[in-house]
């Protein structure tokens, strides 16, 4: 029988174990997909992204999985669902935005955070606001 180095054996066994445990989390339907339903949800999520961020205007994507919010200082925050939590970024001039049919695609300028697609009623307003940053 082929000799397998103990470290490789440990790695392989552990890899199988973590896939099984993670699969169990999925099979048990843990996690869920919370949605942004109203202004309070957006304010809460925005406050989690940056403590003290108080939206004075916001728009929630139709899928309830993302939102844009602006504060009194004119800053714009992009919020997206991440797993069953929310994460976001205050947009900078590095942010890019484009419209596709009824979809607004916002790129905060961070490759790993990624672009966020939002189906919004007032997409043109936000596109204009982001382009003016």
């Amino acid at each position: 029988m082929m000799d397998i180095p103990p470290l490789v054996l440990q790695f392989g066994g552990s890899l199988v174990a973590i896939l099984v445990v993670s699969g169990l989390v999925w099979a048990l339907k843990l996690g869920g997909k919370p949605g942004l339903e109203n202004a309070l949800d957006v304010a809460r999520a925005a406050g989690e992204v940056e403590d003290g961020f108080r939206p004075i205007r916001h728009s929630i994507a139709r899928q309830r999985d993302a939102a844009l919010a602006a504060d009194a200082e004119g800053r714009i925050m992009l919020i997206k669902r991440h797993g069953n939590k929310f994460a976001g970024r205050v947009l900078t001039p590095a942010a890019r935005v484009r419209e596709e049919v009824d979809m607004l695609i916002v790129d905060p300028g961070e490759a790993r955070f990624g672009s966020v697609r939002l189906s919004l009623g007032d997409a043109a307003y936000w596109a204009d606001a982001i382009n003016r940053l």
């Binding site: 470290l7 440990q10 790695f11 552990s14 890899l15 174990a17 973590i18 896939l19 445990v21 993670s22 699969g23 169990l24 989390v25 999925w26 048990l28 339907k29 843990l30 996690g31 869920g32 919370p34 309070l40 304010a43 809460r44 406050g47 989690e48 992204v49 403590d51 003290g52 961020f53 108080r54 997206k80 991440h82 797993g83 069953n84 939590k85 994460a87 976001g88 970024r89 790993r112 955070f113 990624g114």
Partner: protein, 322 residues
């Protein structure tokens, strides 16, 4: 000479405890786990073990060399000196407090330790979210004084293993509070939830490993409050389940800052606290806390003149005992 690694024996217990907590989560708090988050946490644990096996030799070499210069000698049968074990455990925990505190206050150290805080969840799988890059920091230097005192590196490895095992069970929301006497002396789920929080009140608090008394002694203790929901993770949440990004993002950030910063500030980006910047374009935990405190006192003033303080951030409400 003992040849014993307590963490290896604890692995089955870790797995069993995670499965039990998942059962609790299914019944009481389904949001406590998330499949991809769990996968990343466990992959962190696996990678950390591999990194330790591949890179830990350097630390062992340094410790063995330092042991030659020890001040006190427990003799050839050092493992038979029974009182040295509890003494080593307590002193190692004191060492852990300081290396952990440095891990939060020095960006070079934080680059490795941030891994452990990168989840927005707080469950037993989070405990396994251990660093891959600890060997690239100077954390091992904190243990050198113990070696020079005469504690054999193997003894320190064993008590350190038990320290790590103790810290596993405190990564849970399934346990509210332990008995008062226990909460007073030991690190508990409640105390450690505070440590993993990003709420301004809780930032850089409760560094303890096993004994919470170190935080009380050195002024970094903060009790958990029932009226302030904890949000977990890091100030700038990753927003990504990419494992390699989670492992190396802070190192990449440091490299970018070192490249861009003026010469006189380059070292600051390595040795100062996370969030520090030479042009004040970012915020440290101290700055975030100060801004939060100012806002709280402002809200207090607003309340006096009947302004709608309730319009404030619904997460960070609590003004009383800051």
């Amino acid at each position: 000479m003992p040849d014993f690694s307590p963490t290896q024996y604890a692995v089955p217990l870790f797995v069993a405890a995670i499965l039990i907590e998942m059962g609790w989560s299914r019944l009481r708090a389904p949001e406590a786990y998330e499949p991809r988050d769990t996968l990343v946490s466990l992959a962190f644990g696996l990678g950390s073990t591999m990194a330790g096996a591949l890179l830990g030799g350097f630390a062992a070499y340094v410790f063995i060399k330092a042991y030659d210069f020890r001040l006190f000698d427990f003799g050839e049968q050092w493992w038979a000196v029974w009182w040295a074990w509890p003494l080593a455990f307590v002193l190692d925990d004191l060492k852990y407090y300081w290396v952990h505190r440095a891990g939060h206050r020095i960006r070079w150290m934080w680059a490795a330790h941030v891994n452990h805080h990168s989840s927005q969840h707080y469950n037993l799988s989070t405990a396994l979210r251990q660093t891959w890059t600890g060997n690239f920091t100077f954390g091992l230097l904190f243990a050198i004084p113990l070696v020079l005192l005469g504690f054999h590196p193997i003894m320190l490895g064993i008590v350190g293993g038990f320290n790590l095992i103790y810290q596993f069970w405190i990564h849970t929301e399934a346990i509210d509070k332990m008995p008062c006497w226990f909460e007073a002396v030991m690190n508990t789920p409640s105390h450690h939830r505070v440590h993993h929080a990003t709420n301004p009140r809780y930032l850089d608090r409760n560094y303890a490993g096993v004994f919470i008394v170190w935080d009380k002694l050195f002024g970094t203790f903060e009790p958990e409050r029932s009226d302030e929901p904890i949000r977990y993770g890091i100030i700038k949440q990753l927003g990504s389940f990419n494992l390699l990004w989670a492992v190396f993002h802070e190192w990449i950030g440091i490299a970018q800052d070192l490249w861009r910063a003026p010469w006189r500030h380059k070292l600051d980006y390595l040795l100062r606290e996370p969030g520090w910047s030479h042009d004040n374009s970012r915020e440290t935990s101290d700055m975030i806390r100060a801004r939060w405190l100012a806002r709280q006192s402002g809200q207090g003033e607003a309340a006096k003149v009947h302004l709608p303080a309730a319009a404030g951030n619904p997460i960070a409400t609590p003004p009383e005992a800051a």
